[in-house]
């Protein structure tokens, strides 16, 4: 038997009333892998992130992370285990400075050792060192995205779900965020990128997974997946 993947969801099912948002989806991520997760609006991408990170509870199937079944753990317990997510819209703690925002995961994800260094490193890493005392309301949109990523980094994840971190950014800002995520990946973090900007997805992903109406219709090498007739039909119509 082959080695177990870092993250592994099997038969993942989520219903909202009568609506089936995820229909028995199998999804896995290897250690240090870069996966793109795409699909039209309403296809279940964010629901999948919710079930993986714990903000939503799956109705069927199971989720494993590092050989441990996690689908009954609370979100903060999954963060401590090393599974972290970011949100579609930046969600900074608006009453705290940039540096203090990063102190929250340090204190609560149980990795407080040398707090100052970890915060400095993360701010340096995302390029926000000069804004450490700024309040979130004074940051630009792209800096807010970087703050979200920095806060996720400080929690020392092994797997990071990045939910549309580039929506609304300019061409060069998208490049900046892609470069940042590549460098996070070089540090050993497996990243699942949920994105509509195809340029970003193809530049980033080693593997591409496509969801349509709650079902996985493709999973594999990006070029082959994008050449897939079914995928093209889902995106471009008949």
């Amino acid at each position: 038997m082959s080695e177990l993947p870092l993250f592994h969801a099997q038969g993942l099912t989520k219903r909202f009333g009568g609506f089936v948002a995820l229909d028995s989806v199998d999804f896995e991520v290897g250690a240090g892998e870069r996966v793109g997760l795409i699909g039209p609006n309403g296809s279940g991408k964010s629901t999948l992130v919710g079930c993986a990170s714990g903000s939503l509870r799956n109705d069927g199937g199971a989720v494993w992370f590092k050989d441990r079944r996690i689908d009954r753990l609370l979100p903060h317990q999954r963060v401590r285990a090393g599974l972290v997510r970011s949100f579609q819209l930046p969600r900074p703690f608006r009453g705290l400075t940039v540096a203090e925002n990063l102190r929250v995961p340090l204190v609560f994800a149980g990795r407080q050792g040398r707090a100052q260094d970890a915060i400095d490193d993360a701010l340096e890493f995302v390029g926000l060192a000069a804004r450490r005392e700024a309040m979130p309301q004074d940051l630009t949109q792209v800096d807010l995205r970087k703050l979200d990523l920095a806060r996720a980094t400080v929690a020392k994840p092994q797997l990071l779900f990045v939910d549309e971190a580039m929506a609304g950014l300019s061409h060069s800002e998208v490049d900046e965020i892609i470069a940042l995520m590549m460098r996070m990946n070089e540090r050993g973090v497996a990243i699942v990128m949920i994105e509509h900007i195809m340029r970003a997805v193809t530049a980033f992903s080693q593997r591409l997974v496509v969801l349509v109406a709650g079902r996985k219709i493709a999973d594999g090498d990006p070029e082959q997946v994008l050449a897939n007739v079914e995928v093209q039909r889902a995106y471009l119509g008949e």
Binding site: L74, E100, P105
Partner: protein, 315 residues
């Protein structure tokens, strides 16, 4: 840590100075008025632990206060226990009820949580009104001991206890602000979903806040029967307690301990003065007007106007 003990030392010195000044006036009325002001310092700080730091508005202040008062009454009917023991017992009972209420209601957010706390007060008042052991709807007399060693009069003794409690609540509030716990509270207040996704155990932190907040209110309530000498449900569960305990932190500022202290000292003292010079009915009108004024014009309260918004020390 040493900063904490320096702060505690200063708070104790301030409390001693205040007590000495009140004695120097040489009139027990100062103690009667001062007791109410100090009671509100405790209630406002206690409310602020949950309402100000975590952002959950509790309208059931009177319920926790009355729990402490009636715990004292019930204890006193069983055995003659000293007042400090009643306060501790009242704190334990109110803290446990806070914990239980929190567990049942903290999935509710915003206005729904506030309504649930209001309902708690109504339910508890109904229970107490129908419990004859503690006087029921007829009320109960609390007889003050005749001889009070050291202090000379019972009201001075009660002021001393309330002053001690105020020092404890302020010290605990400040300790929360400077600790990781306080950081987690701010994270929950700003964005609960993001806090959970950043590793903050939100439910546990909220339960700590409801238990602490409730416990301090209960401790403040235990001496109430002896202060009023006659306790009945409608006075113990008076909505005025909730209105004042919310107004004081909002007027003073909710982000640091100094806000509720300042709000309670100013508003509480003003109410005492107005009661004597104008009328006791004008009180709430003035509180209401001030509250509206501050919410509209100075949402960060007096400490915001003074530039003390308690911006946390950088990480």
């Amino acid at each position: 840590m040493s900063a904490f003990f320096r702060f505690l030392g200063l708070a104790i010195i301030a409390a001693c100075a205040l007590f000495a000044a009140m004695r120097a006036v040489g009139n027990d009325y100062v103690f009667y008025a001062g007791y109410t002001v100090l009671e509100y310092v405790v209630l406002a700080c206690a409310w602020n632990i949950l309402g100000g730091y975590v952002g959950y508005v509790n309208f059931g202040v009177a319920a926790f206060l009355a729990l402490g008062a009636y715990t004292g009454v019930a204890l006193g009917r069983i055995a003659p226990v000293p007042l400090p023991v009643m306060m501790l017992a009242g704190g334990v009972v109110a803290g446990l009820v806070g914990l239980g209420t929190g567990y049942l209601t903290l999935r509710l957010r915003g206005i729904f949580f506030a309504i649930a706390t209001l309902a708690l007060a109504v339910v508890l008042q109904t229970l107490i009104t129908n419990w004859d052991f503690v006087g029921g709807s007829a009320g109960v007399y609390a007889i003050r001991p005749k001889h009070v060693p050291i202090f000379g009069s019972y009201i001075q003794y009660m002021v001393f206890l309330m002053l001690t409690l105020a020092v404890v609540v302020v010290a605990v509030s400040r300790a929360i602000e400077t600790s990781g716990l306080g950081l987690g509270f701010v994270a929950i207040r700003d964005d609960e979903v993001a806090a959970e996704a950043t590793g903050v155990p939100t439910l546990r932190l909220k339960l700590i806040a409801t238990a602490l907040s409730g416990a301090f209110m209960g401790m403040a309530g235990a001496p109430l029967p002896y202060y009023l000498t006659f306790l009945e449900p409608s006075s113990a569960f008076n909505l005025t307690y909730a209105v004042n305990s919310i107004a004081m932190p909002l007027i003073g500022g909710t982000t640091m301990w100094f806000g509720p202290v300042l709000g309670a000292l100013l508003l509480g003292t003003a109410q005492q003065v107005i009661t004597v010079t104008i009328s006791s009915e004008v009180n709430l009108l003035i509180v209401g007007l001030l509250l509206i004024g501050f919410v509209v014009l100075a949402p960060q309260g007096l400490i915001g106007l003074l530039g003390l918004t308690g911006k946390r020390r950088s990480a």
